[in-house]
């Protein structure tokens, strides 16, 4: 490791787990080369995994679910009753979305999703989680200080709003159904989907107001 700061404070014990690791890029390259040489990994398959979650599966999927729920009461009811089936009806299915639960924000309840133990997240509707969702500070604080976390995102709630934090400790995956913003009565589903941010579906922010959208 290229470490100009010299040795760190762990070196007084004789455990190799406390050695600073070498550059992760080099280690990953070495592992990839090894696995390809041993025939355990198909390089073309790696590209498909990456392309799928970098370009094809992401939070626009979830935004379509939310916008549909906002305009279609029957769909909203189905989503609350059987989220897995209602989401699958839009063809958002598969890994890390096998068992879905939708939690709805209202005037009196605000929902927030976390995975304190790792990084569980509903891939088919939101794609891969952002770095902050996987970070130690978010995982530590979302359950113990949710209002402090929300304030960091600029989301201030009235004291009479109940905050519900959903810790994804099993294979249930959570999608927040944010509140439909005021002043959107005349908007169609596509326009509404433009107001639905990834962060609003994790619960750290509200959906955008009309005019803030993309």
């Amino acid at each position: 490791m290229n470490d100009e700061t010299g040795h760190d404070h762990h070196h007084d014990h004789d455990h190799d787990h406390t050695e600073p690791p070498p550059d992760p890029a080099l280690r990953v390259k070495a592992l990839e080369s090894l696995l390809i040489e041993k025939g355990l990994v198909d390089p073309a398959a790696l590209d498909v995994f990456i392309d799928t979650y970098e370009h094809r599966v992401g939070p626009r999927n979830g935004a379509r679910v939310v916008a549909k729920a906002w305009v279609d009461r029957e769909y909203r009811d189905w989503l609350m009753r059987d989220a897995t089936a209602a989401i699958a009806s839009l063809d958002f299915v598969g890994r890390q979305g096998e068992h879905m639960s939708v939690v709805e924000n209202t005037a009196s309840v605000h929902n927030l999703v976390v995975c304190t133990l790792c990084s569980c997240y509903p891939w088919p509707v939101l794609g891969l989680p952002p770095a902050w969702y996987k970070s130690a500070p978010y995982r530590a604080r979302a359950v113990a200080d949710p209002r402090g976390v929300l304030a960091e995102f600029g989301t201030l709630l009235d004291d009479d709003v109940e905050v519900r934090v959903w810790d994804s400790t099993a294979e249930m995956r959570y999608l927040v159904l944010p509140r439909r913003p005021a002043g959107t009565e005349g908007m169609n589903e596509d326009e509404l989907a433009g107001l639905v941010t990834r962060n609003s579906m994790i619960g750290v922010e509200h959906a955008l107001a009309p005019g803030q959208g993309t």
């Binding site: 787990h17 690791p21 992760p24 280690r27 990953v28 070495a30 592992l31 080369s33 090894l34 696995l35 040489e37 041993k38 025939g39 355990l40 990994v41 073309a44 398959a45 790696l46 498909v48 995994f49 990456i50 299915v93 598969g94 890994r95 979305g97 096998e98 068992h99 304190t116 133990l117 790792c118 990084s119 891969l128 952002p130 770095a131 902050w132 996987k134 970070s135 130690a136 500070p137 978010y138 995982r139 530590a140 359950v143 113990a144 209002r147 976390v149 960091e152 995102f153 009479d160 109940e162 905050v163 519900r164 934090v165 959903w166 810790d167 400790t169 099993a170 294979e171 249930m172 941010t197």
Partner: protein
Amino acid sequence: MNGAHDLGGMHGLGAVGAEPESSEPVFHHEWERRAFALTLACGFLGQWNIDESRHARERQHPVDYLRNSYYENWMAGLSTLLVEKGFVTREEIQAGRSLHDDTRRLDPVVASRVDALLRRGGPVDMPPERAPRFAPGDRVRVANNHPLAHTRAPRYTRGRLGRIESHRGCHVFADANALGERRGEHLYSVRFEAAELWGSAAVARDAVYADLWEPHLVAVA
């Protein structure tokens, strides 16, 4: 296990420091793309399950777990599993090339199968062998267990009083699955009042919900 991964309630870690949603890339470095894809490609070899995969990351020294970035922890877990299952040796990982011909061989997941595998996913619901022990509204306490192996009952819930919010069905019990035993147990959403978890400084009306399996829970009269 009471590892560094069990972060709920830890202090001193600082601000969340989120990048703006509109400008954050899915991957921040090329090696993260490769680490992600290698983990999935090897996972689909079918030689370990998702709970073994989580446990392999958690078993690192806590200093390493907390110092590593996210995908470095994925690499550490993947390397551990590949070595333990006999596909590569530590020396080969260091060298970045094959040094032994006697490691286990398997056909790789080919590109044409990836879409179907991802779409199928890995459902964990199972037929129940008995009726659920708890019903919505029941008061329960999380067993005060500290297993050395993998568990999905976070430390901050242990010994705490909660209420069954809903029955999720019978799901593969992660704690056993990490040890290679695939068996179903009833899964529940359990509501914990914030003050029960965090004391009187918490906002009284707030709550945390966790999904816990029947073996994690003790009936409260």
